[in-house]
């Protein structure tokens, strides 16, 4: 195949389990219960990928971007990748601390890469000097991931981190000792069932940029369309998974364009025209404009996702709800899961349990929780 065509879409296809737990009061807890919940959905994965995102885990370094890197290949390739990546990081950041990411050798996982974390702050020069920090970091992350062989930054937010690899999620959780070493107020997790067997640690979820992470169950049939749009705007889709495009779409809309999640949800999973045409003028005009402008970001095909950011967790399904998503609350705790059973396992009694409607985001924030805040946004915009 010609080189040009090799670069064409080769999307991975997978089905999955997703789970999220958050304390609205900001209480921090270990990953122990999250791992148990994921273990109960063992059959939804096939051991080829598991991962977690945890928020609030690095309070001592909360001012600094926490980069998690993996260096893959044989020992020599790993060393070379680490050397190249570090050279790049030192040139562009002040690194205040770095260490190997702790892991347990008792847990058997397949071909673990070298995993390292860096706490750093931007050190801008030249034409980058005027860039906002976040934009600067995003550009550097994209550079490392697309230009440095065998080095991959899989977590880049502040006071949060992703942990992922090849294995069942409960194995990955124990490998990184998430039940012992970390306490976070928000956890999301993912168990993967890829239909190809290429076992690459970087291919596991969550995917993220800065502090936005996405875990995703589904296949996005609009991948080709979403991808060219995002690539046109400077993102590089190097991982060939549809989750990556979701993560970039959220970054584009929420960080770069400063749109609220309720609007973003209407872009990713808009109501049907039939519904829109029946709305009152204001709403109809807004939604029509959204669909007109952002049509290439409509995520078509079955999906359920949990998007997490500092202080907030969002659940969303595709507009005709082809993948399961259950939401539950208990006291200050807020859960989103592929299956109700996994929530019941760790919290047998619940205050409320429901399945959100297709395309309606469920948003939980540290200071409260609400559903479908679109009305509110329109009022705000007026």
């Amino acid at each position: 195949m010609s080189v040009r065509r090799q670069k064409l879409y080769s999307k991975e296809i997978c089905a999955c389990s997703i789970f999220g737990a958050m304390s609205r009061a900001g209480e921090r807890f270990t990953g122990e219960r999250v791992i148990r919940a994921m273990a109960s959905m063992h059959h939804r994965g096939n051991g080829l990928g598991g991962g977690f995102a945890a928020y609030g885990i690095y309070p001592e370094f909360r001012e600094y971007y926490a980069f998690h890197l993996m260096f893959t290949g044989d020992a020599r390739a790993q060393r070379e990748a680490k050397r190249a990546a570090e050279e790049f990081l030192l040139r562009n950041f002040d690194v205040v601390h770095d260490e190997e990411i702790p892991h347990s050798d008792d847990v058997h996982v397949r071909d673990p890469p070298l995993l390292w974390r860096y706490f750093l702050s931007p050190s801008k020069h030249g034409e980058d000097i005027d860039l906002p920090d976040d934009e600067y970091v995003v550009r550097k992350v994209i550079h490392v991931n697309s230009a440095i062989d065998n080095a991959y930054i899989f977590s880049s937010g502040k006071n949060m981190g992703c942990f992922k690899g090849v294995g069942y999620p409960e194995e990955i959780g124990r490998y990184f000792m998430l039940d012992r070493l970390y306490r976070g107020y928000l956890w999301t997790a993912h168990g993967r069932f890829p239909t190809n067997s290429q076992a690459w640690w970087g291919g596991a979820h969550p995917f993220g940029l800065l502090d936005t992470t996405v875990v995703h169950n589904g296949e996005i049939s609009s991948y080709g369309t979403n991808r060219w749009y995002l690539e046109m705007l400077g993102y590089k889709c190097t991982l060939h998974t549809d989750t990556e495009v979701l993560a970039y779409a959220v970054d584009l809309l929420m960080r770069r364009q400063d749109l609220p999640m309720e609007i973003v949800a209407k872009i990713l999973a808009p109501p049907t025209w039939e519904t829109i045409d029946r709305m009152d003028v204001r709403k109809r005009e807004l939604l029509t404009a959204l669909r007109r402008i952002y049509a290439p970001l409509l995520m078509n095909g079955p999906f359920a996702v949990i998007v997490a950011q500092s202080g907030r967790m969002i659940g969303l399904t595709d507009r005709i709800r082809l993948r399961p998503l259950t939401v539950a609350t208990r006291g200050d705790m807020f859960y989103i899961s592929s299956e109700e059973a996994s929530v019941r396992l760790i919290s047998p009694s619940l205050d409320s349990v429901w399945s959100p409607r297709g395309g309606e985001p469920v948003v939980c924030e540290i200071d409260g929780m609400f559903e479908g805040r679109l009305e509110h946004e329109i009022a705000g915009a007026a």
């Binding site: 010609s2 080709g224 078509n300 095909g301």
Partner: protein, 498 residues
Amino acid sequence: MRSLVLPEFTISRSEECDRCRACEHQCPFGAHTYDVSKDKMISDSYRCAGCQRCAVFCPKGAIEIRPAPSFYRPNASWSRERIEDIKRQAESGGVLLTGCGSDKPFRIYWDHMLLNASQVTNPSIDPLREPMELRTFLGSKPDRLSLRSDTDTATDPFLMVETPVLFSAMSYGAISYNAFQALAIAASRSGTFFNTGEGGMPSEMKSQFKKHAIVQVASGRFGIDAEYLNCAAAVEIKIGQGAKPGIGGHLPGEKVSQHVAATRMIPEGTDAISPAPHHDIYSIEDLEMLISAIKEVTNYEKPVIVKVAAVHNISAIASGIVRAGADILAIDGVRGGTGAAPKVIRDNVGIPIELAISSVDRRLRDEGIRERCSIIAGGGIRCSADVVKAIALGADAVYIGTAALIAMGCTLCQRCHTGRCSWGICTQDPGLMRRLNVDDASRRLVNLLSAWSHEIKEMLGGMGINAIESLRGNRDQLRGIGLHEWELDVLGIKGAGE
């Protein structure tokens, strides 16, 4: 001079013929006559255009028109067409004219691309049970929505179509009043648009159809004034046409009836000549000025389309057009139809639309300006699968011309330039024109669009996609078959099984 060209068709008449003379009446080329003395129908196959009108209308079904079995000695280099063209030119001394799009066997890429469907990992969607959306918007789109001023989002003018198929430019003059009206009615009933071509818009149609009309500004500038530009949903500047890139137009005086003349704002019976270029556009900045002038006259309320023929460096041209401020780019491929064109141009100039869509879409994406304009692709769209493939290659919507004419009755006899269309489509002869019933023709067009829309929904549903916009540029859904590497590269698709 006696013609030395063999007849192209044979007319055979069976015993069933009861000499009703219907064929004589139907044939606009005078191929059938009645011999009173012998009480017999006589056929002159030399005159037959193969339009099949008489065969369809013979009440006894007694007539059969077939390709003539006569032949010149077969010769790989000197095909029948080459031989006959030479004979005709030796007889006339002129440029050979023809109608319709090129009939040459250039590779039809549509037939070398296969679509995808969902299996297991992704459910297909049943369009009869689930919403399946074909609505799309054509025009320039901003990079982002500014929430604080969401009431002003209507600043960029756009066209909204309920199905991604529009009728391409066919002027009143080239086609009959009835055909023109049928297109207008069908467009308004189907939530799409028709295009006036360069023949102006008959004044009595202006108010009724302005919401569904695209008016054209071509090099002849016929029928153009501020009122004309404003009685439309969009204005199209025609630079070129797939059937005759680089060539102007010529509507012979015989077709310029009183009404055509009034609509075009020219004297009755004079030839309407469109120059090859616009004489106020000799470069891209001139185009920019014309676009601005049109926007100014239409109060920035209408998107401006620029239509060009697909030629070799189409992607660079497209980029220039977008940068000059066009909201929509219409590209017409080498197989695009025409009412009249020099045969040598029609059959030798331009490139296939499939390759043009792909390379233009890629170029605009590479330059980051793809959303500053929409792409309407035309010239060779024959069925709903072609529409789906065009969109997957990067078009926003398609133009159909020939397909619409066929729906109204056209049999692609390629005699449009004679003005004697037996189906009442491409003629200004009042008798012939009357053959096309506006109601019936518009119903056929509406049916065609509805049939295609249903088929497009089926194909989308199969791919697990429920909005046409999620197909745009989604080349992932296409695979090539029987194509060379370079062709796959230009199309930006993988081969089947890759």
